[in-house]
Symmetry: C2
Subunit: 408 residues, 2 copies
């Protein structure tokens, strides 16, 4: 079997692996391939959706870890519970309670990043050919996961305020989907936020049609303007919404601590799926995050973080206004990590990236975020990761390249 | 759809989830359900395949972690590489080099325990209905994983020296399997070790028939008698063997650091599979293990560990000889964590476990380790986890229960 996967040059040295055909069609995330370049000195990266390394509470983490290892490390070093280290389940339940929900620890399973929860839910529910409704654009890793389970992702129509409930219901009737996947707040990659009314409608429609809705909400604490909105889960009277959270964006991603708050009857099934996947996540990172949350350090940290990121967003919006040519459309987000730009249709942002990388600037071309259509004229700019002073420089370079590409 | 999964009492509260049917058939690992009981005071557990918590090098881990967090934690806290934290890839390659192999770091991918590598390989290769050849008995979690991918596990015939190469070849011809899964050294659960000649034969047969062979070898360093044998991978001239290792049994399982050494052309594919599964494993546990291995602390630790476990094995063999009735067959293993017992066919070890738990002793009934036949008269005894002094007490209790069950 011939592979079109992004394989190393060795792939053709006589060895023909009999991959499952659907796996061969999954492209590697191009951001990951850029990573080595991005660390070169002088490179300005708006590419990965990464929080700022300067923001991580190193001293607190060091002190907490020292305490954990000097106190009672037996439990942290031995095999542990698949559902999560018990104190971490409690702390993640408490984190979720800050969002106006009231999970019991028994309704929470700790995962390796929020992303593993998406994988486990697909493992549990998706059979080849099953439809999963998503946004257009949506998180590219979710599309990778869906392909790995041979799901058919179908996009729900949307405007600047998120998905259209009427189209959600229509698509449910047409496609009888197994799952609905939404990022309602400061969406990745579009930055948009689903309105209150549509959140209520999404929960109601999912419940009425007996479709599970995955609410992936890792950015909600990163709000720089406007008021917090209730979760979709808060409208979930029919118990059909699985709420995913993560500490990757609000604390640090390297510890890989996320969680799913699911109907309690689903937890044993998620546990079986996770037993098969990796038995359990390492306990030490869970314990560090748990202790950090329990100490009540998060609010002050978030307030610093939001201050920093708001300034960076403002710097980016200011630079985009100054340096981008006319015809590039964007909508300032109220929070999160991303500014999403729609360029004139004749512009191919994958080509633009090649030229940008030559000038030591990176972003993510939008194509990978679309499930069922080829969209080549969008791009995602992350504003959290680059130093504030680099933002105008990088945007100026991109602006020049955009002008050149768009020149008649 | 009705579920026969091991779900909570809430499962029937009106909510009917539309699980993928094959997932509903996967039983939760019964060892995990026993875990809360096993921690009750006075309980003697021969159940989980866990190393002794007393054996973990707490002081070294504490000192290493302190150093890591005071030095350069930026990389550990930010998003990292899917293939593994770079120093950990090197250290795991060096660990594998101790086994007479010579992997390059680029041929190694770090996984959340060795188990995740099995999951990723199945994700990459298995399509519903594909046959995977396994041992009888074999590691129960692997059977869980295979079921989650709708693989059909078929057992290779074996004797006390492991699988019969003739039958391996025969089954390859009949079933055209996608994968072969073997635990050649101190196998879980049987304790047996594949002979040198059969290792060479297995590699040769897999290569000649173009079938990938997964060599899962986490116990090899725990040898108490006899000489180390070369890996199957060392005979792999056709580059068809994927060697899995883990630090769970030789260092501590809670850090969840395992690795796969695979043909280099497979690494990008494994990376895509892992990107979809959990993006990457947390870096801190990888860094701790990496530093521990790099300091050259493992040999001295293994020597202590093997001394302890040999004494525990001897204590168990001695007690079994004294307290078990005639008709219980077992073969002293040369290493590893398990003593495997075959009882007269009329004995049901699942029933025996219920009575044993009442008397505060636990083991694992063998049924879950068999892929394609119902075997109810075997049991697995772990000897590494219980305190040495408890071993004769627990075995005496089991011996009494066995006598009672076998009495005419």
């Amino acid at each position: 079997m011939k592979m079109n996967m992004n394989l190393s040059p060795n792939q053709n040295q006589g060895q023909q692996f009999r991959f499952a055909p659907h796996m061969v069609k999954i492209p590697s995330n191009p951001i990951f391939h850029l990573l080595p370049k991005l660390n070169e000195p002088g490179f300005i990266s708006f590419a990965p959706g990464a929080p700022s390394s300067d923001s991580f509470p190193y001293a607190d983490i060091e002190e907490i870890t020292r305490g954990l290892l000097s106190n009672n490390p037996r439990e942290l070093m031995q095999y542990g519970s698949t559902e999560g280290y018990a104190p971490a389940r409690k702390s993640m339940a408490a984190l979720i309670s800050r969002y106006g929900l009231s999970p019991k620890p028994g309704e929470v399973i700790v995962t390796t990043g929020g992303q593993q929860a998406i994988d486990l839910l697909c493992k549990l529910f998706v059979e080849p050919g099953d439809v999963v409704l998503v946004e257009a654009p949506t998180y590219s890793a979710t599309l990778q996961i869906l392909k790995s389970y041979r799901a058919v992702p179908i996009s729900i129509e949307a405007d600047d305020d998120g998905i259209l409930p009427g189209d959600l219901e229509e698509k449910i009737k047409i496609f009888a989907p197994k799952l609905i996947y939404l990022i309602p707040t400061f969406q990745n990659p579009s930055g948009r936020t689903l309105t209150l009314e549509r959140r209520a409608a999404a929960a109601e429609i999912a419940g009425r049609h007996n479709v599970l809705l995955i609410e992936d909400d890792p950015y909600r604490d990163l709000r720089y303007h406007g008021e917090h909105l209730p979760t979709i889960k808060s409208f979930d009277t029919a118990d059909h919404v699985i709420f995913l959270t993560s500490t990757s964006k609000i604390l640090c991603p390297g510890l890989r601590v996320g969680a799913a708050y699911a109907p309690e009857a689903l937890i044993p099934a998620l546990t079986v799926a996770k037993q098969a996947a990796d038995m359990h996540s390492p306990a030490l990172p869970q314990a560090i995050v748990s202790a950090y949350l329990d100490r009540g350090l998060l609010d002050a940290h978030l307030s610093l973080l939001c201050g920093q990121y708001r300034r960076k967003l403002d710097a980016m919006l200011d630079a985009v206004k100054r340096f981008f040519p006319e015809g590039i459309e964007y909508r300032p987000p109220q929070g999160g990590l991303f500014l999403w730009c729609v360029c004139p249709e004749r512009l191919d942002t994958a080509e633009l990236l090649e030229r940008a990388v030559d000038e030591k600037v990176a972003f993510v071309p939008g194509e990978q975020f679309f499930a069922d259509e080829r969209v080549t004229n969008t791009l995602r700019l992350n504003f959290s990761n680059a130093p504030e002073a680099d933002i105008p420089k990088g945007i100026e370079i991109l602006g020049k390249l955009l002008r050149k590409s768009l020149a008649p």
